[in-house]
């Protein structure tokens, strides 16, 4: 019945989350846990994330980038267990340093064999992993336009190239 089914789902997503978080955090440990292990319908679902080399800490103490990594691991774990055909992610790399953003870009590329990913980003380290690239621009008349871009168009998206596209 409902309890058994939910329990299976939680275990399934937890399996994926453990693996994916370990990979994204380069050796950290994460897991999902029921507040009430005896009854999944009683308590809520806890999420744990312990970055490499650190003692377990409360979630709120984690840094902005560490929280994003755990969130992304959770999303990828949901996808692994029960994939959606389409993911639309808007600036999910906003708090990530260059290395973590690169790893997310690589994982998005890997996972996009099984689902379609539309990813909005300002970061070239993320965008360079895309197979297709669109630029959204406005010419000073308040009307948005979408243009096809090639990777070299944004190879320096943090600098002069943005002015050319805009």
């Amino acid at each position: 019945k409902k309890r058994v089914r939910l329990s299976e789902v939680i275990q399934g997503v937890d399996q994926g989350y453990r693996t994916i978080y370990a990979e994204l955090s380069a050796g950290g440990e994460g897991e999902l846990e029921m507040e009430d292990p005896s009854d999944p319908l009683k308590g809520g679902l806890l999420i744990r994330a312990r970055p490499l080399g650190k003692k377990a800490a409360r979630l709120e103490q984690l840094s902005g980038g560490e929280k994003s990594l755990a969130s992304l691991a959770f999303i990828f774990a949901l996808q692994r267990y029960d994939p959606s055909p389409l993911y639309v992610l808007d600036e999910v790399d906003m708090s990530l340093d260059g290395i973590n953003a690169e790893n997310i870009g690589r994982m998005l590329r890997r996972n996009s064999t099984k689902a379609q990913f539309i990813v909005i980003s300002l970061r070239k380290v993320t965008l360079k992993w895309a197979e297709h690239l669109f630029g959204v621009t406005m010419r000073g008349d308040g009307m948005s336009r979408v243009v096809g871009l090639r990777l070299d168009d944004i190879v320096d998206v943090d600098e002069r190239e943005l002015a050319k596209v805009a």
């Binding site: 679902l45 994330a49 029960d82 389409l86 600036e91 539309i118 690239l133 669109f134 959204v136 406005m138």
Partner: protein, 171 residues
């Protein structure tokens, strides 16, 4: 299945009709601040997501009509269509292509001030029928497959009960 085309008509900063062709796999969307990138994800939510405008940074649905730009007159309607490749029949419709459309039109006579209609392959559809189709194909916007700007850390910040709710939808 995959989204093969997005059509926007007078939706937020997209004046007139804009068609965006998509491919399978990983598509990146780039561009300077304020150009309309998040408005594109808003347009997808407009069709697949909850009917209210609050998630789309608008206090009412009529705020979503293109406002005319600096000097023009505001539009009085807007429409967004999502055209999916359905060759794998992930959607329970026997068609290789399925188009979901939402159309909102100014109607000062109406209590809310507008009409809001949903269509599947051109035929009027209730929100309930759409939700049934979408959720069976795992396309509804409630499973954390659509993450809006600034929302990525919500999974960490949300209450344990809310987080359990995300998994209950898969059960």
């Amino acid at each position: 299945m995959y989204l093969k085309k997005l059509r926007l008509h007078n939706f937020k900063s997209f004046a007139g009709t804009t068609e965006v062709p998509f491919s399978t796999g990983f598509t990146g969307v780039a561009g300077p601040n304020g150009m309309g990138k998040s408005n594109i994800s808003d347009s997808i939510l407009f069709v697949l997501g909850p009917p209210s405008s609050k998630a789309l940074r608008a206090d009412r649905l009529t705020r979503l009509f293109f406002d005319g730009g600096k000097t023009g007159k505001p539009a009085t309607e807007c429409e967004v269509s999502l055209i999916f490749d359905n060759t794998d029949r992930a959607l329970a419709i026997d068609m290789d292509e399925v188009e979901f459309t939402r159309y909102v039109k100014l109607a000062p006579g109406n209590p809310d001030g507008y009409y809001s209609y949903f269509y599947v392959n051109g035929r009027r559809s209730t929100q309930g029928e759409m939700d049934a189709l979408l959720s069976k194909a795992r396309l509804s916007a409630d499973g954390y497959n659509i993450v809006q700007q600034g929302e990525i850390n919500r999974i960490i910040v949300m209450s344990p009960l809310e987080r359990r709710g995300l998994l209950e939808r898969l059960a």
